[in-house]
Symmetry: C2
Subunit: 323 residues, 2 copies
């Protein structure tokens, strides 16, 4: 099969064709240079979707919650896209497929698009394709795009910064150890969800979150907006409608003042820095056998310190780019 | 109190003075530009310590293990330094002090230096002071330096890449959810430790690890060296001597071939890239109200795509640096 031309793919995406969407995401993932122009075209058509980050530690039940959300939002007639960012081995690059499998029951509906992505280790960090994949779904006319991440690490925080609305999922009965990982993400919530609320210890988790909010521990950007704490149960389906309502309300709140623009600006700033870092890493990679090697050898021998070595590298590499 | 001059601090560090070590680490943490020259001097005196990364999910008992290791290694007469990198809120920046507290019983011994460091969120990532702190302890004559990290996220993987020997701690009885987080770090182990081996389910964990190794799932760099799986118990003190022996053996193995040099080169390469990224982020930060703002605004309005915007930014910023 001959490769599909970029223009045709872009057109397919803008027409909302699932096959074109899937292909362009794959192209973005493979990092083909040829995808850059297409993604640039796509980017210019973005800005219409409501991007919702859903995050929580492993075991918090977020994948189940996302599946419930998809069903409820589809029932409204809205199109919903899901990008699930999985923790993965930094070396093997293999994604854990659990989320994808659990959401399988939604397959076959063209108004739902679900994609699992691996985070990349080593010199990569967050898969470069995550943010472009959101762009692609946005440009393809999806009304709501969910980014599902495990709430640990810098990459996840960055993904959350690309969302307009952030939902943090907590579950009753997780150990103290896992709660400690969670501490860092509680404060980024626009909406709190306590999943598995059919469990007897769910009330304690709800009370803890409400107390934390009442103490003002996590006011953050939200000083003039109370942060809802919702209870959901995948077993009974309880709470999903309320969550959809809370997500829609948050969007209204964002657009009622200057908060929407503020968040779009914050995302743009983050993407600018990420794109610059990507360019830097590419230059590093392509000079690995040349300038990088020469300097890394001197660094390994403690002949030069990292800061001056890096400055020298940037200077040499940049001259080359500017030419 | 007048600030201590950099030269005096460097001299103090090289003489192994604890107060000078602590102060220079603090200076590195605060990111004062004045610390760069001092850290450069320090860097040139590094290369003698054995750097050991100890990593494992929360609840694996690594802090207790590190405390046991400190006691055993001190009993040999060796100087030991510990840098504990804690997960922390990306927004508040506050470190979880548990590790520091638990290791408190070692206080008062000048041959043991323990420092907790926060990871930085937002635009920071791993605290920039972590690697310099290791340099400082190395130059100060510590024989063994332990970097203790929670094994999740890119930052932790980067820290591990700065170690000569990596110990991965597993504990029996952690849930599947937390095991999934762990999957990514198992393959980076030079030595496996199963903690809490007094627990009845410890044997299962040991068998699982050995099976994994036998299946060749995590051979990685180590194809010609069997990876030991050790059992330790903080309750009985069992296994700590064996772990010290395994760590020392690994160092001998590294130095018996070209592996030592390979790892030093790998670390140098990583530090070169990290330093270049730091410079880029600093430039980004210092241009935030100017060039960055102008481009981020156009990006937020979808008038330009991230890649060309980043290229333009780098070009403009770089011209400025090169002048």
């Amino acid at each position: 099969m001959a490769p599909v031309a970029s223009e045709k793919l872009v057109k397919g995406v803008l027409d909302g064709q699932v096959s074109a969407i899937a292909r362009l995401i794959t192209r973005a993932e493979s990092g083909e240079e040829s995808s850059e122009a297409a993604l640039g075209e796509i980017y210019k058509r973005t800005g219409n979707a409501h991007i919702v980050g859903i995050t929580g530690v492993p075991g918090s039940g977020k994948s189940t919650l996302v599946a419930e959300l998809c069903k409820t939002i589809r029932a409204d007639g809205r199109k919903i896209g899901v990008i699930a960012v999985d923790p993965t081995s930094p070396f093997s690059g293999g994604a854990i497929l659990g989320d994808r499998i659990r959401m399988g029951e939604l397959g076959g509906d063209e108004g739902v698009f679900i994609r699992s992505m691996a985070t990349r280790g080593a010199l990569g960090g967050l898969s470069r394709a995550t943010l472009p994949a959101i762009d692609i779904l946005d440009a393809a006319g999806f009304d709501l795009i969910i980014i599902e991440t495990v709430g640990v690490g810098q990459d996840e925080v960055d993904v959350v910064r690309a969302a307009h609305t952030t939902v943090v999922v907590s579950a009753p009965g997780l150990g103290d150890d896992i709660q400690a990982i969670k501490a860092g993400i509680l404060e980024i919530a626009d909406i709190h969800v306590v999943s598995k609320c059919d469990r007897p210890d769910a009330n304690r988790t709800i009370t803890e979150l409400k107390t934390m909010l009442a103490l003002g521990i996590s006011l953050g950007d939200h000083a003039d907006r109370p942060i809802p704490v919702l209870a959901t149960s995948a077993a009974s389906g309880e709470g999903t409608d309320e969550l959809v309502e809370a997500i829609d309300d948050h969007l209204k709140w964002l657009k009622s003042g200057d908060e929407w623009q503020k968040r779009c600006y914050r995302t743009a700033e983050m993407r600018l820095l990420k794109a610059a870092e990507d360019i830097l890493r590419d230059k590093f990679e392509s000079n690995r056998d040349g300038k990088v090697q020469a300097l890394a050898k001197r660094l390994a021998a403690s002949e030069i310190a990292p800061q001056p070595a890096a400055r020298q590298l940037l200077d040499e590499v940049w001259k080359e780019i500017s030419l």
